[in-house]
Amino acid sequence: MVRTDDGVSRRTYLQLVGASSVAGITATAGCSAGGGGGEEITPATAPGFPPFEMKNDAGELIGFDVDLLSAVVEETEFTLGEWEEFEFSSLIPALKNDRADVVAAAMTITDDRDESVDFSESYYSADQAILVADSGDFAPSELADLADGKVGAQEGTTGASVVTEQLVEGGDLAEADFNTYGSYVLAVEDLVNGNVDAVVVDTPVANTFAANRPVSVTFTYETGENYGFAVQEGDSDLQSALDDGLATVREDGTYEELTAEYFTG
């Protein structure tokens, strides 16, 4: 039981190919800065954000981000190692401390994050959707209307910061009327139970919800946010390789196939 599902990490891989265990501890920085052909990079994500990353029936990691990053890295000189899974808020620490080389986790490119990591070109654009329960009579049509109700969001997400910046900080919404959750599934559970009146969440995820729970999108709030793959600061080899790979999969139709697979039906 000691062996976990994480698979062979880069460090184990190094040891297997003969590097000493000391190299396993210390050689990791050289690993990501080397830029040699076929170099293995460790991807990381935070499962639980369908359709971008989730687990399938066999407990395997799947999703748009997972397939897209695989396709993109396929077009580069790098090879993709085993995925590491973290809480969303642990992803940037994982990059900064060399536990991962690239993050694909529906991560919005923001100035704050850009200060500690580097991003690829945007690979997806999203807005925030406002979900309400089908059984309720709360029908907000713009952000200001949310001030009349109780609002929920997943902590650390753009949805949460929209509510904080637009409503709570201005004094329109009392802090006590804003609940954050560890998982947006719990936020929607509270919405269905009537404990909150609206939930703010990224549009593609909201649509997945509207399809399988008694909730619907009442309006969207345009943030024009862009998701990017995050890499370690200064890892420009990987960054530009990902940009080139991204351009290639957009041109050859792979990108379109993946969006069709994950975002329709």
């Binding site: 000691v2 809480e87 994982a94």
Partner: protein, 254 residues
């Protein structure tokens, strides 16, 4: 002959799942989903147990001597041990884990033919050291509960100070520390869920994976996971109850 007509039962299931407004209701479909994924949850529970056992062991190996030092030691060593304990008890477990995993950083190991991931090592380090700090207090309290007169008596019959502690105080203190240790076992067991932050998928992480897949099954998945935690805590507590009475200090009217 089935007790309930299956067709009627599935119809009932359909009707129940169409009623959206009842809060936190359990639907048969969602229970079926939990049952289908029992192996997935149970292997997560396996990791939970492994983390708990190894962390408690690390906690005991470091915490017991620390408790002895805090109870009977003096000078710089005692201050050092007590200070480390205060720091470990005063730090949130998630911070300890993140330091162990991201700052140290713990390497992957091969032990006795088993591959142990760096995450597991960090998890054991964080949970184990924190547990050591708590266990030290459990043992310190138990040691202090042994009357000083007994140690004086031991010295009077010719035992050295260390010998007196080892042969007179420790055997009694270990027996008296069982109830406190029981608490610590259940606390460590449930705190293993924090290792999600460093990428280990134990029981609670796997529960999250499941209800993200079937978002109507939140209550069912959480109840099932709670049941597993309950079985684990209940059985270890009963085992320790038994150990306590088996090793109890014999008393006159027993």
């Amino acid at each position: 002959m089935p007790l309930v007509d299956p067709a009627a039962a599935s119809q009932l299931g359909a009707v129940v799942s169409q009623v959206p407004s009842l809060p936190l209701q359990a639907s048969p479909d969602d229970w079926a989903f939990v049952w289908e994924n029992r192996d997935y949850l149970l292997s997560g529970a396996g990791l939970t147990v492994a983390l708990t056992v190894v962390s408690l062991l690390v906690g005991f190996l470091a915490g017991f001597p620390a408790g002895v030092v805090e109870a009977y030691g003096e000078g710089a060593l005692r201050s050092l041990v007590a200070g480390a304990g205060v720091a470990l008890r005063g730090t949130p477990i998630v911070v300890l884990l993140i330091v162990a995993f991201f700052v140290l950083p713990t390497p992957d190991l091969r032990l006795l033919g088993l591959e142990v991931s760096g995450g597991f090592v960090a998890g054991v380090l964080g949970l184990g050291l924190r547990s050591a700090a708590y266990q030290a207090q459990i043992f310190r309290g138990a040691l202090r509960s042994v009357d000083d007169g007994q140690l004086e008596a031991a010295r009077a019959v010719g035992l050295g100070r260390i010998e007196a502690i080892r042969r007179v105080a420790v055997p009694q203190a270990l027996r008296r520390s069982v109830p406190g240790f029981q608490n610590e076992v259940t606390i460590v067991l449930k705190d293993t869920s924090v290792v999600f932050a460093i990428g280990l998928s134990e029981l609670l992480t796997r529960s999250y994976d499941l209800f993200v897949r079937q978002t109507t099954a939140v209550l069912e998945v959480i109840l099932f996971a709670s049941l597993i935690y309950f079985v684990l805590t209940f059985s270890t507590n009963r085992a320790l109850d038994y150990a306590e009475s088996y090793f109890a200090i014999p008393e006159g009217n027993a």
